[in-house]
């Protein structure tokens, strides 16, 4: 067995490959590990001039300040709620889409629909924000204007102007943007399923739906599990641009999330120690969540991610 050979043997034999690895490893060290040292400023009254070594230690003062702000519980709640809605509504969509795409037999049609589905992923949120406003604005937005004029509705549908409906708009726009991109992993997982299983199912008299249920879905089950764990681990993280751009003043208490909160209370007035404190808090909760999800998945008989 080759595996019994000493590690150094592999290092010498493939040293050129390991040399190639140096650059990405260096990248990770410099941009992912080295900055981790910076979390200590969450426990300091950080001075730009004196740096980390010269700043005074303040214990948990930054955490206390931030968590006592009126908007912190709101931002935390909105972050979790928006992510939860995104997970519930957004997670199954790429799976269904991937299975549907997989069933398209005409290669041309398949390619074109895939490309069209990927497209929104490459649009910046600035552009999507402009589109959303033109489509969903009260009275003048395409949807409200046509419904009002045709007499179907009497009052504007408050897509952007009332909190709970705004949250729904936010989620649906997010699902629309990401669903195509999300299919890539599932499609490749489906390709990996042994064709003989489908043939066997057919011979046993399984129709299309039964094949999908009994062959395709179990075949990509581990991929689904891994992605679910990763998604749950991201529950505390939320991008900045999407809520910041789609949000507006009327729904401030519903669109304010941790990232926009950090921007306001930490970045705009150069209070990096407080911004770091929130970041650290997010990471710790995220770690707990991802560990819990991993634990549950393993208990359910899947592989998990570690």
């Amino acid at each position: 067995m080759q595996n019994r050979k000493k590690p150094l043997f592999w290092l010498f034999r493939d040293w050129r490959l390991y040399l190639m690895l140096i650059v990405p490893v260096a990248w990770y060290v410099m941009f992912c590990y080295k900055p981790m040292v910076g979390v200590i400023i969450a426990f300091q009254k950080f001075s730009l001039v004196k740096g980390m070594a010269g700043s005074t230690w303040t214990g948990l003062e930054n955490f206390e300040f931030v968590m006592n702000l009126r908007d912190f519980p709101l931002a935390l709640k909105n972050t979790l709620w928006l992510n939860f809605m995104g997970l519930i509504m957004g997670f199954p969509v790429p799976i269904i889409l991937a299975i549907m795409l997989n069933e398209i037999r005409n290669r041309g049609v398949k390619r074109v629909s895939q490309t069209l589905l990927y497209l929104p992923h490459f649009l910046s949120w600035i552009i999507i924000g402009g589109m959303v406003l033109k489509i969903f604005a009260p009275t003048t937005g395409v949807v409200n204007a046509s419904l009002l004029r045709s007499g179907i509705i009497k009052e504007n549908i408050p897509f952007l102007t009332e909190g709970p409906t705004w949250q729904l708009t936010y989620t649906i726009v997010g699902v629309w943007q990401n669903m195509g991109w999300g299919t890539i992993l599932y499609l490749s997982a489906i390709t990996g399923i042994n064709m003989e299983l489908f043939e066997a199912a057919k011979i046993d008299g399984a129709n299309k739906m039964q094949q999908i249920w009994h062959v395709t879905l179990p075949g990509i089950r581990s991929t689904i599990a891994v992605l679910l764990i990763l998604n749950v681990g991201q529950m505390m993280n939320i991008s900045f641009d999407r809520p910041y751009i789609l949000g507006n003043t009327l729904v401030q208490d519903y669109c304010d999330v941790l990232s926009t909160f950090v921007y306001r209370t930490g970045i705009t007035n150069a209070k990096f120690d407080r911004a770091t404190a929130i970041g650290l808090f997010q990471s710790v909760v995220g770690l707990v969540m991802i560990s819990a999800a991993n634990f549950v998945t393993k208990k359910l008989g899947e592989d998990g991610i570690w």
Partner: protein, 531 residues
């Protein structure tokens, strides 16, 4: 072959990650690095521009100083400067609009105290700014009563701030005079709505929320409803950032609520915060009134007037001064204080470099030098001078050859606006930079200076303002959006709810801190009623 390819790839990757150090020239005694704002003007390379070469030739070479411009994006200047300071790569002369950042740096000992250097080398700086303005840069970080000159404020040549505008073609169509009071304005708005002067989409009153500074507009409107006999200077200063707390403020919001529900006020004001839709409406001529900077309709970069006139024949914006105080008839406008952006020298530079920095600023304040640096070359950037010595026929930047392109404000940052030595000349030159609209701009300036008071600022850093202002502002935005759009029956409840939310967001602490600063005498600016 595969192995060799891998090796080559690995080496290419590794080499592409390195950068070779460049060799510095050594013919000068020292290099002075000067921050300049970069607005990405096509063809203008700030690191190799005419203004730099001029300054190098007339200031740098005679003094043995190598000048270097450090361009920083105007739109992210605060963030970039913060990064540069924490890495000690900031320029030797830094400029910023971020007062919080400067306060924090002074408190940390990160800013060079310039008193001796200004005394020794800064006679022209003092002459240009004046002692009073220069005192805006004096701080007392440790609270021992001794102030030091940590920063040098830029001088605003024009302190005019907001202006309001109505459609003269609409007034003509309605056979109305220019509104002089709120009632007359209201009459005009409702009449314009009824007559559908802008077509089916007529929106007589455009309200913009200005989310980063919501009180820009609201403070102006509120001051028309405040009984200044009932409030003291202390209240005025304590509520500097919270005019919604002043008695009478509620009436302004109530009026807007009524206008909103009568279809007079722009319905999407709270959603269309960056004016994506509003700008289109503006150019389509749907709006009948708006409030902005005093010169907004005629600015060359976003000329609302010209764009609208293209679509609607005869459409014209004229300045209006209708927000007369309901108690005394005065039309209060706030003016900027004369201090513009902040200039400072980082604390870690050597004494020689700091001295060179002051010498450079001093050189820039000499009238001939400032004229050359602001106006460029006769025959290229302008053609001839008038009898007052003001340049004629200034050539637009995009028509100037690249090697002569310049940005006045970003390089001659100590003067916020063209300076020709006296106020009358400066005002004349400002009006001339709006060709075709000189009369309207002059009228707008006149209105904006009517019953004007100077914005309040403090001579000590107010920590509470740094800590809470951003959260307070978001609640103020909500107060405006919610009280204007809510059901009139719920108005009082919504008002109370958001006023409480503003206080809870930290406004109570800020107000107390401002009150204390007033009692300690650490403030500047004017109380409107004192005029």
């Amino acid at each position: 072959m595969k192995k060799i390819m891998t090796l080559v790839l690995a080496l290419v990757l590794a080499f592409s990650c390195m950068c070779l150090p460049s060799f510095a020239e050594v013919e000068y005694d020292l290099t002075l690095r000067v921050e300049v704002f970069d607005r990405s003007i096509a063809g203008l390379n700030l690191e190799d521009c005419w203004q730099l070469h001029y300054a190098q030739e007339h200031f740098g070479d005679p003094n043995g100083i190598k000048l270097q411009f450090v361009p920083v994006s105007r739109w992210e200047e605060g963030d970039i400067l913060t990064t540069q300071i924490s890495g000690e790569t900031a320029a030797d002369i830094c400029i910023t609009y971020n007062g919080d950042l400067v306060n924090a740096l002074i408190a940390d000992g990160g800013v060079y105290a310039l008193d001796d250097l200004v005394d020794e080398y800064g006679a022209n700086i003092v002459a240009f700014l004046g002692e009073n303005l220069l005192s805006y840069g004096a701080f007392d970080p440790d609270g021992d009563g001794v102030k030091a000159q940590y920063t040098i404020p830029a001088r605003r040549i024009s302190v005019v701030n907001q202006g309001a505008f109505v459609r003269s073609d609409w007034l003509k169509a309605l056979d109305m005079e220019e509104p002089k009071t709120i009632d007359e304005l209201e009459e005009y708005l409702y009449a314009a709505k009824d007559a559908e002067l802008g077509g089916e989409m007529t929106i007589p009153f455009s309200y913009a929320i200005f989310t980063s500074n919501p009180m820009f507009a609201m403070r102006y409107y509120i001051s028309a409803f405040v009984n200044f006999d009932e409030i003291t200077e202390e209240d005025w200063i304590a509520y500097k950032d919270n005019p919604e707390m002043l008695p009478g403020a509620k009436e302004a919001f109530e009026l807007f609520n009524k206008w909103y529900h009568d279809g007079v006020l722009y319905e999407n004001f709270a959603v269309d915060t960056d004016s994506t839709i509003g700008d289109t409406y503006m150019t389509q001529g749907y709006f009948g009134y708006f409030l902005q900077q005093y010169d907004q309709p005629w600015r060359t970069d976003k000329n609302y007037q010209a764009e609208m006139a293209k679509n609607v024949e005869g459409a014209e914006w004229i300045p209006v001064n209708a927000w007369a105080n309901i108690y005394n008839g005065k039309t209060y406008h706030d003016n900027y204080d004369a201090a513009g952006l902040t200039i400072f020298v980082p604390g870690w530079v050597s004494e020689e470099t700091a001295a060179a920095a002051i010498k450079y600023l001093d050189w820039m304040c000499v009238p001939e030098n400032m004229f050359a640096m602001q106006n460029g070359v006769d025959g290229i950037n302008y053609h001839g001078l008038d009898e007052n010595g003001l340049p004629l026929n200034a050539v637009p930047t995009d028509q100037v050859p690249d090697e002569h392109k310049m940005h006045v404000g970003d390089v001659v940052f100590i003067s916020n606006g063209y300076n020709f030595g006296d106020d009358a000349k400066n005002a004349a030159y400002v009006a001339r930079s709006f060709p075709g609209y000189e009369a309207q701009v002059a009228q707008s300036v006149l209105y904006s200076n009517t019953d004007a008071w100077t914005q309040i600022s403090f001579t000590v850093p107010i920590q509470e303002a740094t800590d809470y202002s951003a959260t307070v502002i978001t609640k103020q935005n909500e107060l405006i959006a919610q009280t204007i759009s809510c059901d009139p029956a719920d108005f009082d409840a919504v008002w109370d709810e958001y006023i409480q939310a503003i206080l809870d967001a930290g406004a109570d602490k800020v107000i107390e801190a401002y009150r204390q600063a007033y009692l300690d005498g650490n403030y500047r600016g004017t109380f409107p009623a004192a005029n």
